[in-house]
Amino acid sequence: MVWQMLIGLGILASAILAIRTKRLLVSAIWLAVASALTALMIYLLGAPQIAVIELSVGAGLVTVLFVFAINIAGDEPVEIRSLIPAPLAWGLVILAAALTAFLVLPKLGLLPVNAVDSTKGSILWDARYMDILLQIAIFFSGVLGVLGLLSSGKPKVEEEE
């Protein structure tokens, strides 16, 4: 239980640092740290397969993508002043989190905690077959979208002027 508390504090601290740091590259590194700690927490909750996927995709692939994009787009510091005043943003966020905790926390102990049944590994292929098809469709549409976005065509507006 001490481990879960430490890991939870680590996740929250690295998430705050990922939002608050000025440089984008440091922000991407802290996001990778938060992802790795999240994978550890998922593993401790008894789901090792999704922990491996979260570690390899969240901490590996997404970080590489972020570094690649920052490399192309440049590490440009945008001025700190946000469009919304920061106390208003924090107030809204804390209000929403407190309301959600007020709704959810009393319900938490009501459900029975059973032993983890890890023998049925085929639920992904039997009960969730449509999800696999959906994932393939999402994957291909994402690839097509990236190809369309990164195509080096001239914008039409500049040619007319």
Partner: protein, 103 residues
């Protein structure tokens, strides 16, 4: 005061969602917005696994979380490609430069 493991994980999920919503509200950098979305989806994945752990059916939760991770990765890829294109056409990553209507 003793906290159970599920309460600790739930507090972590709420904290992640709160931090991500603050980032989405207050950040002006396009790539920072994608970072905030990633943090939000990490909280969602953790919530799926916690729910599966609580009802004793982790496998169902794992298959759902896999779909969420795949969709989230595609969202990150598309958002970063959009940010790169906007940077190349407008010369900045500031979301205030995207407004075409003057206030």
């Amino acid at each position: 005061m003793t906290l159970s493991v599920s309460t600790i994980v739930l507090i972590t999920i709420l904290g992640l969602a709160g931090i991500a919503f603050y980032g989405l509200l207050a950040s002006r950098n396009l790539i920072k917005l994608v970072v905030a979305l990633q943090i939000l989806v990490k909280g969602a994945v953790l919530a799926f696994i916690l729910a599966g752990n609580q009802i004793g059916n982790v496998n169902e939760a794992q298959s759902l979380a896999l779909t969420v991770i795949v969709a989230d990765t595609i969202v990150a890829v598309l958002g970063l490609a959009l940010a790169v294109q906007i940077r190349q056409r407008l010369g900045t990553l500031d979301i205030k430069a995207l407004t075409t209507l003057k206030r």
